[in-house]
């Protein structure tokens, strides 16, 4: 079994602030998805507040630190949450991702710490 990070992507829908009935239905389906897939989720991760609540810390090449109101990348699509899923392989992870009721998912490998140490 391998671990995969699911980055749940939003397309600008603000589920926390006056969602339409259609969006509420998707949100309810997402809750169901987490129930159904519970056994495959090794770390529930978290659901993020919308990007309008983001704060970004930028570091210049000289080491100067700047705090900015807003996300790192201004874009309609953004990461809305994370979970860590366990699946036999990437194909199985993709099959799970395809059942996601929301907008989309980016699937990423998870780096095991010992792996990184062994590499360097």
């Amino acid at each position: 079994m391998s671990k995969y990070a699911f980055l749940f992507m939003d397309d600008g829908v603000d589920y926390q602030n006056d969602p339409t009935p259609e969006q509420q239905k998707v949100y309810a389906d997402i809750f169901k998805w987490f129930e159904v897939n519970g056994p495959k989720i090794v770390d529930g991760g978290a659901e993020l507040q919308p990007t309008r609540t983001a704060t970004t810390i930028r570091k210049s090449a000289t080491g100067k630190v700047t705090v900015i109101d807003g996300p790192f990348i201004e874009s309609k699509e953004s990461v809305g949450g994370f979970s860590i899923i366990e699946a036999p392989d990437l194909d199985a992870a993709i099959a799970i991702a395809k059942t996601w009721p929301g907008y989309g998912i980016e699937i990423r490998d998870v780096v095991e710490q010992r792996e990184r140490v062994a590499e360097v």
């Binding site: 507040q49 704060t55 970004t56 991702a97 996601w100 990423r108 490998d109 710490q113 360097v120």
Partner: protein, 115 residues
């Protein structure tokens, strides 16, 4: 106490340019930062993500899920890892993000479902 997600900004480019020695040197303070904050209970979870070029995405297009070989958003910089932290307030979360020995960080409050 509220929870915040620290999203660490990274790029495949940066990794490609580092020698094994440079990577080792860059990771030492990061490991220490992670260990210290885990021991004090600030870090509740998190992961380091693999290369962006190895990403696979699924995206809803006209109602159906389409599989895309690659990242969701084409961009040089991406989420390279994340840490879930629990601290008093946003100011404290920003202070922790500033102490991250790596690059840029996006701080996001998380949705509390009362669980």
């Amino acid at each position: 106490m509220p929870k915040y997600m620290l999203m660490f900004v990274g790029s495949d480019d940066w990794y490609d340019k580092q020698s094994k020695e440079e990577l080792d040197k860059a990771y030492q303070p990061i490991m220490k930062w992670w260990d210290d904050l885990s021991k004090t209970g600030v870090i509740k979870g998190g992961e380091e993500l693999g290369m962006q070029r190895k990403a696979t995405s699924v995206k809803r297009v006209n109602g159906a899920m389409k599989v895309i070989d690659g990242p969701f958003i084409e961009s040089k910089e991406t989420v390279g890892g994340f840490a879930l932290i629990e601290v008093e307030d946003l100011d404290k979360a920003i202070a922790i993000a500033k102490s991250w020995p790596g690059g840029d960080v996006e701080v996001r409050p998380i949705v509390d479902h009362g669980a």
